[in-house]
Symmetry: C2
Subunit: 157 residues, 2 copies
């Protein structure tokens, strides 16, 4: 059963490659033994740098199920999720995911995931750092936090 879901993720990846829509990654979201959504990387086709297979599969599953909490779902992906997709799995509260290729396999065909993992851990040197962050205007931003905190009908997730 599990290997069938992985095969479905592989089929998604193949579809993407053949349609020249993005990179060789596919994913499906499964609930109660049924595939709820499937997607392949569509960065190139849609000009959306966030359109990784896992992000799209999560967005489609959430849209299908009409809720942002997917804690009763599983995700199958052809390659170990990048930090963006891994954090998306956390936010969606998906408790378990299955992956085929590793981030090292992905690095071998030219993808940056391993670098990003190191960058997020602060393990890259200054010369290697690609993104600079600057603190600015905290006071005004805290006022927005306060306004929200005081709302009686806020939704925390």
């Amino acid at each position: 059963m599990k290997s069938e879901f992985m095969k479905a993720a592989i089929r998604e990846a193949r579809k993407g490659i053949r349609a020249q829509e993005g990179d060789p990654f596919g994913a499906v979201v499964v609930k109660d033994g049924r595939i709820v959504s499937g997607a392949h990387n569509s960065v190139v086709k849609t000009n959306d740098p966030t359109a990784h297979a896992e992000i799209l599969a999560i967005r489609r599953a959430a849209s299908e199920l009409r809720r942002f909490n997917l804690s009763d779902c599983e995700l199958y992906t052809t390659s170990e999720p990048c930090p963006m997709c891994l954090a998306a799995i956390y936010w969606a509260r998906i408790p378990v995911f299955y992956f085929g290729c590793t981030r090292t396999d992905a690095a071998e065909i030219g993808f940056d995931d391993e670098f990003f993992y190191r960058a997020l851990r602060g393990q890259t040197g200054k010369a290697e750092r690609r993104v600079r962050s600057v603190r600015l205007g905290r006071k005004g931003c805290l006022e927005v936090f306060r306004e929200w905190s005081e709302k009686p009908d806020k939704v925390l997730y």
Copy 2:
């Protein structure tokens, strides 16, 4: 100028709070001193767990500029990006971002970002781990990588 862009991000966050669309976060993408896109967290409104302000602002800017590479843009966000959004900034090749509140400020009003950062660094204990990952079917997935690698017209980004 920079503080004006942060004010625009704050206005976005306020819009979201008042329309009850999500959480108190706003972001804008700026190119050549002009705002290209703005967004606020819309997780609750759109039932999309990935609909953070930064992700939406990046997607809109990329759509507006018709390219997935935003290396000539800057991002302003009312709060330090979560790992998902930080990795999205990397993927979009945005070289610099400005943020107001810190992840500690966000934790104080109930957001999990700091936990996610620790989880991505592997600094959470087993009991605390919320997402389990399982390796499965690497061989079939590697075949897809190979198929893609051998394509003469592949787009690497």
